[in-house]
Amino acid sequence: MGRILLIALRNVFTHTRRSLLLGGAIAFVTFLLVALFAFSSGLQANMLESATTLVSGHVNVGGFYKVSPAVARPIVIDYAKVEAVVRATSPHIRAISRRARGGFDRVTSPTTSLMNAIAGVDIASDGQLRERLEILHGDIDALREPGTALMFARQAKDLEVGVGDVVSITGLTSRGIRNRADVRVAAIAKDMGGLSQILTFIPEATLNTLYELRPENTGVLMVFLDDRDLANAVAKDIRTALRAAGYDLMEPEAKPFWQKQQNVEREDWTGQQLDVSTWRDEMGQLADIVDALDGFAIAFTFILMLVIIIGIWNTLFMAVRERTPEIGALRAIGMSRMRVRFMFLAEAGTLALLAAVSGALLAGLLVAALNSAGIAVDNPQLQFVLMSDTLFLHIDPARVAIAVLVIVLFTALAALWPAHRASKVQPGAAMSHAG
């Protein structure tokens, strides 16, 4: 078998033009697939990064409180008790932060105004924000004082404010009263993709006053895990634990909480219902778009592979025709049909493997180069989609390995037919017949 592999390998290198053509095509398809995967993985990573910094933990325990069937507030009543139950569910829980959830309300500067989602933080206990935000101006710790605000570069620019300037936020309470809070811009952070464009942080206490909320309640408990891939499993455990502790739970749904709020207000219940969601749920359709991108990459590759398969057939049938006397001779001297078949499969397989690996390597190089070049994205719409202000690509070695393997497998499958044809060559083909 070793010698047959050697023959296959040498044949690949002997027919240079043919191998380069077909190998080039296979390498190109692999390159595209890996590059597209890197793009979608990068998006996914950005999305995770931005989601878990700004609006979500790996798992969230939020929910709604309804005084009357038509009015819902995103509130967890008496969060300390809920937090105690949650903390006991899994050893993988690294940290739990909380955020107060305001509304989507108007922020007004001396010159202009915009609509933003207002979130309340307890900066003293919220390690996540402190760690992950890049503060461009001011001091994030100034948010310990009530009456302050943290906003992002683009908002500050749109509002034409800097650190020390005062903006006012109007908040609509559940009783329908419009309150106003004047807050001083204490820190301006670097933009973090789409979410940061619509989010302003103020101290928890200030938010509670603005929306007339009690300090023992909060908007959401954000649970951070030591392994984000466990999010679904831990979410399930938390649901079970909360139910056992007597809490009413909402059905899991892959939507951000503000979309759920509209539905909840149409439902006929009052009191508290908790909602356990993962970061992916909170990203809603955006996560689906990233998945769709992967689907597109796979479909696209599939179509290109069809072209490759035709190339494989063309090349191998040509090889079988050219080498008919050689194959006949091998059959005559006692090589079995199975081995002839294996020889051609090996030839296609080695070519595909070499080509796919080089294509993947090239894509890896391109990704590394683009990442280190740090290509800036200025367009806000594009930033929103990319979830970042720089292009970020991420190579997942496991996915690359699977991509290479699948492509090699496809090629080998396509080679089955010509290899079978080769195994049908009669030993007599080695003889020179008259006529």
């Binding site: 010698r3 005559a332 003889m431 008259a434």
Partner: protein
């Protein structure tokens, strides 16, 4: 027991609406250790005859016995095994594996056999390469060799498994007469020293001189020693064509 016995063998090839009778009523016995040539003009049926003996093709009628096996009764797999274990082949156009060097080409049938150990393999390959006079070309590929050298490689490859019978279809047709003669001498030598049976074909009268026995064939019939060739008109007269 003879190494080869053909009894009443016919071989027909369909050709359009007619049939070519490539062999008709062939009775032939080859004894072990013979060094025989099948001689006849182009289209007379030499290759067809060798193919039947070489288990490469099967007879339309009659029996072909090779080393005691009725080849028609063997499965494809068993025929392949018989070719590997019992027969050696030398082809007119050499048919070496172009991407392997001399050593690897000669070694190849031993790798197919699987039951020959590494040390033994090496010993046999070196011995045969030396005997065909190519020790200096071990690492060269067929493309770098002359026709005569290639046919020497082919002879070494055919003999490396220690076959009982070596079949060679016009082994010298692609060689100039001096080189061809040297190749025949080499085969004769192998026959004399190992007792390997050789059966080869040619339509070159000069080549026949080397043989111990000449089997004459014309129009698919063996001319009996002493008897004449019957001149019955073939059903479909084969067009005389040059070899190759």
């Amino acid at each position: 027991m003879s190494i080869v016995a053909l009894v009443g063998v016919d071989k027909d090839y369909p050709l359009g609406k007619t049939t070519v009778h490539a062999l008709r009523g062939v009775d032939l016995t080859i004894e072990r250790g013979e060094f025989s040539v099948i001689a006849g003009p182009s289209g007379s049926g030499k290759t067809t005859l060798l193919n039947l003996i070489g288990c490469v093709d099967t007879a339309t009628r009659g029996r072909v016995l090779v080393d005691g096996h009725d080849t028609a009764a063997l499965s494809e797999r068993a025929r392949t095994k018989l070719r590997l274990d019992t027969l050696g082949f030398i082809f007119q156009s050499f048919n070496l594996i172009p991407v392997l060097d001399v050593y690897q080409n000669v070694e190849f049938p031993l790798l197919l056999k699987r039951d020959v150990g590494k040390v033994e393999r090496k010993r046999r390959v070196f011995e045969l390469v030396e005997r065909v006079g190519l020790s200096g070309q071990l690492r060269q590929r067929p493309g770098e060799l002359s026709g005569g050298q290639r046919q020497r490689v082919a002879i070494a490859r055919a003999l490396v498994t220690g076959p009982k019978l070596v079949l060679a279809d016009e082994p010298t047709a692609n060689l100039d007469s001096a080189t061809g003669h040297a190749i025949l001498e080499l085969m004769r030598e192998m026959n004399a020293s190992n007792g390997t049976t050789f059966l080869f074909s040619t339509h070159d009268p000069q080549v026949m001189d080397v043989a111990q026995r000449v089997v004459r064939i014309a129009d698919g019939r063996i001319a009996q020693p002493g008897g004449g060739v019957s001149h019955a008109t073939p059903v479909a007269a084969p067009a005389p064509a040059p070899a190759g």
